[in-house]
Amino acid sequence: MKKVLLVVERDVKRFLRYRFLLIMRALWFIVQIALFGLIASRMVVIENYFQYYAAGVSIIILYSTAMFVSYDIYEEAEHGVIDYLLSLPLSRRELVLGRSIASGIRSFMYVGPLMAIVLFLIGVTNPLNLAIALFSLFIFSFGVSGFAITLAVAIKSEDRFDILMGVLDALIVRISTTLYPRTFIQQANTFYGLISNFNPLTFAADLFRWGAGIEKYLTFSNPLIPIMAIIIFSSFFALIGIVVYEKRLEGGGWQ
């Protein structure tokens, strides 16, 4: 356990080095909410769309920050740091577990203040629901990190990974309820509506809104459904991440 904590500590420290990228993401977040969210809320038929949108953008940024761990992996591969990590007296399992936990923690460290702003704008009605939602979102970010690690080590090519990320981002974010309620996705295209039902971002966005008291356009009437879905998603990818990382880490072949 101590070794896992050392990996966590190292990865959290590394994260703070990306200050320019972190500033840019914070700026993106502010512009999305203060400009697009504000103007779009006057354009659409949804009541209190500004609050709905602000909550969704928080989930997008949580997702993208958790995915960030993959770029660390590529950077380490490029600079030969992976070989150094492999030579350390810790098992592959401890390494990947530490990385996933660290990625979840640093995502939350970063998104926490931004979420606090959003919650301040929305106003919290039920602190217990919020606490459950935030805990589930922590598990979600842990799962996303596992997902990112799985993809990164399975592909082993930064270029291909970049492209896949672009396409995945385009689809995962847009076919989810982060930006709009499922009713409208379904009206636009039934296929999109169907996919959005199984999208982890839909579960995360729904939970955050439920926790923040924005309950009008929730996809699932019972919050247990998204909680369970997030637990399954995160356990699956954390496990797959560990297995794939262990198997693919050695032998080189990074491009």
Partner: protein
């Protein structure tokens, strides 16, 4: 002139080295159009916009053009950091040819990248007349060379990649969101009157070259907003100012004492 063509050819070859990255970028643009815009079409009040998809289609074309034309800055900044200028200066090419070659290639790459999205816009919004097509392509070319020059002037003045990325982000967000790419100007003006948006933001949106480009296409294909010569004048001014600034900054970067 021949030297400029060589530079354009070289920059195009480099551009297509990123072809898979470009595929990823195009898929994001298409997802914006065929997923996000379609859903917003169901959500947007009909008294504000009859069809958000039709409104947004010219907008996404312009943002794609802008993003692709801006890519030349990334390469120029790489050259600044790697002191590549020494090699460029050793070539039998005049400095002004190098500068205009880079500006033109950046713009033309943007035009090539944007072409499928413009075609998609024509498919869904209807085709313009030959004269309108000529005006649209000329306007887009002005935006493209203005943007590649803007990008070059930023890239050539900054020696750190992180600072360049930050500056690029600020320019992107400012020009994308303070424009009529995503929402109509009359809605922004209403919000200004209500005190929700500061006046400078609405003024920026009205005079933003991205707004002018998107509104020009809309004026021909959707008949709204009305076409005014100001749209063209704005784009000519944008291209002229930034081509001069970009070329001067680039030449200055080449001559910088090392």
């Amino acid at each position: 002139m021949k030297a400029i063509i060589y530079i354009i050819e070289r920059d195009f070859k480099r551009f297509f080295r990123y072809r898979w990255w470009l595929v990823g970028l195009i898929s994001m643009n298409l997802a914006d159009l065929f997923i996000m815009a379609l859903v917003y079409t169901k959500m947007v009040r009909s008294e504000i916009l009859a069809s958000y998809f039709r409104f947004f289609s010219p907008g996404i074309t312009i943002t794609a053009l802008f993003a692709a034309a801006f890519m030349i800055g990334r390469e120029v900044n790489w050259e600044v950091r790697r002191d590549y200028a020494s090699y460029l200066l050793s070539l039998p090419i005049k400095r002004w040819e190098l500068a205009f070659g880079r500006v033109l290639s950046g713009g033309l790459r943007g035009m090539v990248y944007m072409a499928p999205l413009l075609l998609t816009t024509f498919v869904f919004l209807g085709s313009p007349t030959i004269f309108q097509l000529f005006i649209i392509l000329s306007a887009l070319f002005l935006i493209a060379i203005g943007t590649s020059s803007l990008s070059i002037s930023i890239a050539a003045s900054i020696t750190s990649f992180e600072k360049f990325v930050t500056a690029r982000g600020v320019v992107y967000y400012l020009l994308f969101f303070c424009s009529t790419v995503f929402y109509p100007i009359n809605l922004m003006e209403q919000l200004k009157e209500q005190g929700v948006l500061p006046p400078f933001m609405v003024d920026l949106a009205r005079n933003n070259p991205l707004s002018c480009g998107a509104d020009l296409i809309r004026s021909f294909l959707l008949n709204s907003p009305e076409f005014t010569p100001y749209l063209i004048i704005n784009l000519v001014a944008y291209a002229f100012i930034f081509v001069v600034l970009g070329a001067l900054t680039y030449v200055k970067m080449l001559q910088r004492t090392r």
